[in-house]
């Protein structure tokens, strides 16, 4: 079995820095794919930034910010086929947008309105998982179940670095390996679980090291590099479809935003570090890459930004236009019969 135990700091990268480190490229990605990835990142970024504003305006409730996670979400998503299912945590609350879920659905979720739930089969996106890591076994069970049916679909579960301390992560990862489930365990390691740094979660040199204990490949990738994330996920998907079982991906980034709108990280994170990390955030990095390639200029950039803003504006308007939920909904849908 392929066994990869990456050393600390040895992360896969594709995007260069425009200076000493040259740009790489990912085989098989056409210009349209590259721009599609950018559009997805901008849509997610716009959703996230506007959501923080909407929260301040009292238009949505407490909101879990994912600023800086756009490369991880868009890059991994792009490697999936429509038949593959996504099992998001609350940090990926808007990933359904990439599958055509209307923004008002996600806004409704954060507005505490029943229209915020959806039929997972409609988008291949499971419900947003609020508890930490307990959805990892769901993704594994789904992937295993599809394999048992002879279907080629795989599943990806998103979770954070803190989730790797949970028993549910362990049980899910172990089941995935034992059942050779076509699953991708995607860890967005942003270094912080609310106020708890990674050093207080684990003594392992890297989270990807944990994969070896389950007998599955572990990959470590720069979570701010959308192309590296895409490439690593594409390999994991190919492995899953070939019947070779699950992959653990550790995408490394740094949390540059509060955990949620109710959190004040100035109490525990060095603002200088945040400032430095924000200067190298993933959307800007990719934008500069596309400019160096000559694929993106000011006009197209503005068009893409305007489209995203309009989508989000229409989404919040539609969510706010929904009537208040019928009180009878309180006692509905707990049981199928």
């Amino acid at each position: 079995m392929a066994q990869v135990v990456p050393a600390e700091g040895d992360m896969r990268r594709v995007i260069g820095d425009g200076e000493a480190q040259p740009d790489g490229e990912v085989e098989g990605l056409a210009d349209q794919d590259l721009l599609e990835l950018y559009r997805a990142m901008v849509l997610l970024r716009t959703y996230d930034e506007r959501s923080v504003v909407f929260h301040r305006q009292g238009r949505i409730g407490t909101y879990a910010i994912f600023w800086g996670h756009e490369a991880m979400q868009a890059g991994s998503f792009h490697a999936l086929a429509r038949e593959d299912w996504i099992f998001p945590s609350y940090r990926e609350s808007a990933i359904g947008l990439l599958r055509g879920m209307p923004p008002e659905t996600v806004f409704s979720w954060w507005r505490g309105h029943p229209a915020g739930w959806w039929d997972p089969r409609e988008y291949g996106v499971a419900s947003i998982a609020v508890p930490i890591a307990t959805h990892v076994p769901h993704a594994v069970g789904f992937a295993w179940g599809k394999k048992l049916r002879g279907e080629s679909a795989c599943a990806i579960a998103y979770f954070g670095d803190g989730a790797t301390s949970e028993g549910a992560f362990h049980e899910g990862a172990n089941f995935a390996a034992v059942m050779r489930a076509p699953a991708i365990l995607f860890c967005n390691n942003n270094g912080w679980a609310i106020s708890t740094p990674l050093s207080a979660q684990t003594r392992a040199a890297t989270l990807a090291d944990k994969a070896a204990g389950y007998g599955m490949p572990g990959v470590r990738v720069d979570g701010g590099d959308v192309l590296a994330v895409y490439e690593a996920t594409r390999e994991a998907v190919a492995r899953a479809r070939a019947g070779d079982g699950p992959t653990f991906i550790e995408a490394v980034t740094y949390r540059c935003a509060p955990h949620a709108t109710a959190d004040d990280p100035s109490a525990y994170i060095d603002p200088k570090r945040v400032e430095a990390e924000r200067a190298n955030e993933c959307v800007g990095r990719y934008e500069r890459y596309l400019r160096r390639l000559g694929l993106l200029g000011d006009d197209l950039l503005e068009t893409i930004a305007a489209e995203a803003k309009e989508t989000i504006r229409a989404g919040i308007a539609a969510a706010e236009a929904l009537p208040a939920p019928d009180p009878s909904l309180v006692t509905r849908d707990a049981y199928a019969e």
């Binding site: 959806w118 089969r121 789904f142 049980e171 849908d333």
Partner: protein
């Protein structure tokens, strides 16, 4: 199936339902090669293969957690928890997801997951093999719970659980696994959830019991001078209020027998139901005979903990002389 034990009836239900519906699969610790520590799944691996009778890693939360995903992929998983006390790790999945997921989809998706487990004491087992945790399950929204007291009901309730579009916990009293025996209907046999059973007819007092306590209540009824009716609750959720209330309306007296610890146990729920809906029928206080609010004792003391017929008789005499 003539002269069948409860565990044989469970095994038969699994076989019949797996033959009837190819999406039914059995999963759990030691359910395949070993056929289950109580032999409830014996023969299923040979008959249905390792894809539908799965020996899982030793991980109860993982069993139930992957069952959620299996259900999303179109399977009807029947999860075995090897002992009721080993089911506690799966409560995380049960409370956070299994009972909520149908609601989370606004009713669009069904999660037909069955969770089987032995329950209760009286078999002289080591610590944490003899609990009665039904209340944890009953208290969880979105979950249905049934506890049979006869081989036929074990088969029929398990079939109903497997066919239910909702998650159902089926608790099998391990003290009844190998005795008594009775003739169990052949082939498909379904006992609908939500229906209690009159286990013994009587006029003066109603003993309300379920699982292993039905036999205790029946023995008490034999010993009691007055005429006692025994209602076997069978389905704790949904609860057959009608049958319970009709019996208490007839007798005017109720004694609830529950093996689990007393405080906030399921007996308290029945007592509250009678207080709300049967107050004018009652001629005396509703009395609970229960286990104590202590960890289930070492087995040399278990007979002191589990309600005995004598304690039930004493409670009945108290309410009869009120």
């Amino acid at each position: 199936m003539p002269n069948s034990t409860l565990v044989e009836a469970v095994n038969d239900a699994l076989r019949v339902e797996m033959e009837r519906d190819e999406s039914v699969m059995v999963m759990g610790e030691d359910v395949g090669r070993a056929g289950g520590v109580f032999r409830a799944t014996a023969g299923l691996l040979d008959r249905f293969g390792p894809d539908r009778c799965v020996d899982t890693p030793l991980a109860e939360a993982g069993i139930l957690g992957t069952a959620v995903g299996l259900a999303m992929a179109g399977w009807r998983p029947v999860c075995e928890m090897q002992y009721e006390s080993f089911s506690y790790p799966c409560l995380d999945q049960l409370i956070c997801h299994v009972g909520r997921y149908h609601w989370r989809t606004n009713g669009a998706m069904e999660f037909p997951i069955t969770i089987r487990m032995p329950t209760g004491g009286g078999v002289k087992a080591p610590e944490l093999h003899e609990d009665s945790p039904e209340t944890y399950y009953v208290h969880t929204p979105g979950i249905k719970v049934a506890i049979p007291s006869t081989p036929s009901d074990a088969k029929g309730l398990l079939a109903a659980a497997i066919r239910s579009p909702d998650p159902v916990v089926l608790m099998e009293p391990k003290v009844l696994y190998r005795s008594p025996r009775e003739d169990v209907p052949e082939g498909e046999h379904v006992v609908p959830l939500g229906k209690a059973r009159i286990a013994r007819e009587g006029d003066d007092v109603t003993f309300i019991a379920y699982g292993g306590m039905v036999a205790v209540a029946k023995r008490a009824a034999e010993e009691l001078e007055a005429s006692a009716e025994v209602v076997d609750v069978r389905s704790l959720k949904p609860l057959d209020e009608e049958t319970l209330l009709a019996s208490v309306a007839k007798t005017g007296r109720a004694v609830i027998v529950q093996e689990a610890p007393r405080v906030a146990g399921f007996g308290a729920e029945i007592a509250a139901l009678l207080a709300e809906k049967a107050i004018l029928d009652l001629r005396g206080p509703v009395i609970r005979v229960t286990g104590y609010d202590v960890p289930f004792p070492f087995w040399s003391l278990e007979d002191e903990h589990i309600p005995s017929p004598a304690r039930v008789v004493e409670a009945a005499e108290q309410v009869l002389s009120f």
